[in-house]
């Protein structure tokens, strides 16, 4: 391997400018390439399928470059003509496993069926950052697209030079460089070997390389089926939960009875009836291992241990007051425009306060990981959304150089920020080190809902006014939010805390103060956040961090202002927007449900046992990413407060769409998941522990409640592709609250929208 940056070919290749198409010259060049390829001795074979990630004890020092600036970091052309794509971004079920190969296939000019994507392996894939923040396509895919385009230009340039013909007379297709006029081409692999004298490109990614014209796309923009679905539907897809190693022990970690409790004593004899089971204790990290999984589970249940009890938590009922009371780190002014206070003082004010509770990721499969820490090397199979970041953390915890630690992504159960996957991986690593055996740790349902890091609570107080012109004249948002600790390397992990292994303290919540300001033209605005220095339970990013709660507040409040001005909610929004992409999604979402212009509440709001209404909400994600508008129809049973969502319509603009069906699936998922969060979810905890630890005490949406979903994708092939894994979550709660208001005239401002809260809003 060459050193990073030592690529032998830089910049665009210039074919000779003279001469017309000379088939004879190209044929001769072609022969030359093919001969060179035939003589090549392959010294380094890259895995051709993602199954390579399942091979245990692979050498950490595989020698493949992980350089983000090298084409070889991302792309390898294998001896059989297939292409391996090395992606630091992983497929969590959101479809990157098809979308990123589509982007690469399009630029490279090779069939998608000849591309395999290897994901999130610290020994093979470049560190493209965590898979989160809707960055998979927008950043990860775009980086790989750039590498693929660089590769294409180089391959063409090389052939053009040898053939002594202009580069623009060539293109790539089916894994070959060909004359645009047709005829036999030269396989990529043969060009590369001639080009670099090696099997590698040895080429820097050209940040300015010309991408294909979207008008010519044949792969991007097509709903190509995801490759993982057949395996998932037939039970043959390998999740980290299914992964086994020879000699592997099954482990369960016995979590303390209360948050902050420490282990005093363990009665190891209490499990002596279970053959092969034994206790592993590292400080207060208490594990039980056994060759048989049920034996490990039984032993964990039977084990007698004595803990100090702790009562350090504030309890669910106190969360709202706690947000107001602190402890605070600082206040931060996010927007200050005009003189909102003065304008509001002289106006008829509308005021409201909105609350978002703590929520769990609620992954269907409790977290699981497998670790093999032996002989000074560690390999960890994890559903981590950030294998490179986790590698640093776990190497420190194990006291090993990072070079000796390899973290390999395997699919987990759906995770939308950070569930217990990194915790389980740390559990497995420490227990494997302690037992010198490969160890699989499987969390229980109670572990997952009890101990997964939680989405933090949010409180927002808003006030505003509408001027004589019927437009919003002034707006103030005051937010109470938990602040992410600056430069925190990793969320503190349970196992490390329990084992007494030092880690940087702090919390991570994501960029949770975004979109707390209105997306509409408002001349006088103040947005202020009171940053809390901690959170009631260990927090983590959860899908569209903060922006679901913020949009709930901002877009509910926008509706309240529209109602105060007796304006139609859609018209009221449109008058405050000038961006044509914003108005387009709003018009399209309204059209999807044949929205009738009139103010809310509905004229029939005060009558009937079942009240029906429609609501609207809009989001420009982070003010610079996707545009989403959502309309919703609901029925409300006035007597019980029961809500039935009938239809949800979403218009979505994320620029270039890579795979429309996969995108629709993401949007559907965000709508249903966020309806669940809005209608049902609130983590219950007392002074010592989380008490909502199963699906009865932490209910989520079920099939009978599923509404009809209508989606309209705005396709803009000439715009950059934007993230689409979060934005469509954000307007859901406000669209629902606004529909309930339209139906009943009652305003629900606290999530979840329980029957009691809906009934109270009618009073």
């Amino acid at each position: 391997m060459s050193a990073p940056g030592a690529g032998r070919f830089h910049g665009p290749f210039q074919g000779p400018s003279h001469g017309r198409l000379q088939p004879a010259a190209f044929s001769s060049a072609r022969r030359e390439f093919l001969q060179a390829g035939g003589a090549l001795v392959v010294g380094f074979t890259l895995p051709t399928t993602a199954l390579a990630q399942l091979q245990p004890n692979s050498d950490v020092a595989l020698g493949k470059t992980l350089d983000l600036n090298q084409v070889d970091g991302f792309i390898a052309v294998n001896a059989n003509g297939t292409v391996s794509i090395f992606s630091g971004k992983v497929d969590l079920g959101q479809g990157l496993r098809i979308a990123i190969p589509q982007m690469a296939a399009e630029e490279l000019g090779i069939g998608i069926d000849r591309i395999a994507m290897i994901e999130g392996d610290t020994a093979l894939t470049p560190d493209q950052g965590a898979t989160g923040g809707s960055s998979g396509i927008m950043r990860g895919g775009v980086q790989i697209r750039q590498a693929a385009a660089t590769a294409r230009e180089a391959l063409i340039g090389m052939v053009a030079t040898r053939a002594n013909q202009p580069a623009d007379e060539f293109d790539t297709a089916d894994g070959e460089v060909r004359l645009k006029t047709g005829g036999a081409g030269i396989p990529f692999r043969d060009v590369i070997t001639k080009m670099s004298g090696d099997t590698h490109f040895l080429l820097k990614v050209d940040p300015k390389v010309k991408l294909r014209n979207p008008a010519s796309y044949t792969v991007v923009g097509k709903s190509i089926p995801r490759p993982d679905i057949p395996g998932k539907v037939t039970g043959t897809h390998t999740y980290v939960h299914d992964f086994k190693l020879p000699g592997m022990l099954h482990a369960r970690v016995v979590r303390p009875p209360s948050v902050g409790a420490t282990l005093v004593a363990v009665d190891e004899k209490s499990i002596k009836g279970i053959p092969g089971a034994r206790v592993v204790r590292i400080g207060s990290l208490l594990g039980v291992v056994a060759p048989n999984e049920w034996d490990a589970m039984s032993a964990a249940r039977m084990l007698k241990a004595q803990w100090t009890e702790a009562a350090s938590l504030i309890g669910t009922a106190a969360v709202r007051d706690w947000l107001r009371a602190g402890p605070f780190e600082k206040d931060e002014v996010l927007v200050s425009k005009g003189d909102a206070k003065a304008v509001l003082t002289g106006s008829t004010k509308v005021k409201a306060e909105f609350f978002w509770p703590l929520q769990s990721h609620g992954s269907m499969g409790p977290s699981c990981a497998v670790a093999d820490v032996r002989n000074g090397k560690a390999t960890i199979w994890s559903a981590s959304q950030a294998t490179h970041r986790f590698r640093e953390t776990i190497a420190k915890a194990l006291g090993m150089p990072r070079e000796d630690v390899r973290v390999i992504y395997l699919d987990g159960s759906g995770c939308y920020g950070m569930n217990g996957h990194d915790d389980a991986a740390a559990d497995a690593a420490l227990l494997s080190k302690a037992t010198a055996r490969p160890v699989r740790v499987q969390w229980s349902r109670q572990d997952e809902l009890g101990w997964d890091p939680k989405g933090p609570p949010q409180l927002l107080a808003l006030e505003g006014a509408v001027g004589d012109d019927g437009k919003i004249s002034a707006w103030r948002t005051e937010m109470w939010l938990s602040k992410s600790t600056a430069s925190l390397p990793n969320m503190p992990l349970l196992a490390l805390d329990a084992a007494g292994i030092a880690q940087v303290p702090g919390i991570t919540t994501g960029l949770i103060s975004q979109n707390g300001d209105p997306p509409y033209a408002v001349p006088h605005q103040d947005v202020l956040v009171h940053w809390l220095s901690t959170s009631p339970l260990r927090p983590s990013n959860i899908r569209a961090p903060g922006k679901v709660g913020n949009c709930f507040a901002v877009e509910s409040f926008t509706d309240m202002l529209a109602a105060s001005a007796k304006k139609d909610p859609v018209d009221f929004r449109l008058q405050g927007l000038s961006d044509p992409r914003a108005t387009e999604v709003i018009r399209r979402a309204a059209a999807l449900i044949s929205w009738q212009s009139r103010p809310s509440p509905s004229p029939s709001a005060a009558t009937g046992a079942t009240a029906s209404g429609r609501g609207f909400a809009y989001m420009h994600y982070k003010h610079n990413e996707s545009y989403v508008a959502m309309a919703m129809e609901v029925d409300v049973d006035r007597a019980t407060g029961a809500i039935r969502v009938r239809r949800v319509a979403c218009a979505h603009d994320c620029g270039l769409v890579i795979n429309p069906d996969a995108l629709k699936q993401q949007i559907e998922g965000q709508i249903l998941q966020t309806l669940s969060r809005t209608l049902y979810e609130d983590v219950a905890f007392d002074a010592s522990r989380v008490t909502s630890v199963d699906w009865a005490s932490y209910p989520i949406m079920r099939f009978p409640e599923v509404p009809e979903i209508l989606i309209d994708l705005v396709v803009r092939p000439h715009e950059p592709p934007l993230g689409a894994g979060e934005a469509a979550s954000t307007p859901v709660p406000a669209a629902l609250a606004n529909a309930i208001y339209d139906a009943t005239g009652g305003r629900v401002t606290t999530v979840p929208f329980t029957r009691e809260r809906v009934r109270a809003s009618l009073a």
């Binding site: 679905i229 043959t236 034996d295 499969g365």
Partner: protein
């Protein structure tokens, strides 16, 4: 250790099991390497572990292995393969009815039991049958679409 003989996917399989209370799920996943059924809650609340036993959708996380002997057990692997999927699996594949897919084998097994019992079921039947199967990614619409399409393909 007691040896139990199970009828799994049309084959007799003998397994050594120390504890007759060990749920079928762990025997399938570990001793028999049939990992399609997933552990989700161990409480019968989520349906990820669903298998079909004597034509009924059963939560394998709650069924002691001793009570599974002598009964006809079908797991998702026995229903069909990627090359030769069961019609319901084919419908799930056509509808791309999985995101993370952790719950989907349980959905397929619950759906297959419904299909066998009532080949021309309605959307409401499917919603009722799947009411005890949870999905977190929000794939419900596509799962229902797949179910309806499989029901339509069955002649009345």
């Amino acid at each position: 250790m007691p040896i139990y003989t199970l009828q799994v996917n049309g084959q007799a399989r003998s397994v050594d099991v120390r504890d007759p209370q060990e749920p079928l799920l762990y025997v399938l996943r570990n001793a028999l390497s049939l990992t399609g059924a997933k552990y989700g809650c161990g409480l019968g609340q989520c349906g990820a572990c669903t298998v079909i036993i004597d034509n009924e959708a059963v939560r394998s996380c709650m069924l002691p292995v001793a009570k599974a002997t002598g009964r006809k057990i079908t797991t998702v692997e026995g229903l069909g393969t990627p090359a030769k999927p069961h019609p319901l699996q084919a419908a799930f594949i056509s509808a791309s009815a999985a995101q993370c897919g952790y719950c989907v084998a349980g959905m397929v097994m619950t759906g297959a039991a419904l299909l066998a019992r009532k080949p021309n079921f309605t959307r409401e039947d499917a919603q009722a049958a799947l009411a005890g199967n949870l999905c977190r990614c929000g794939t419900h619409s596509r799962i229902l679409q797949a179910m309806e399409s499989a029901a339509r393909k069955v002649p009345a």
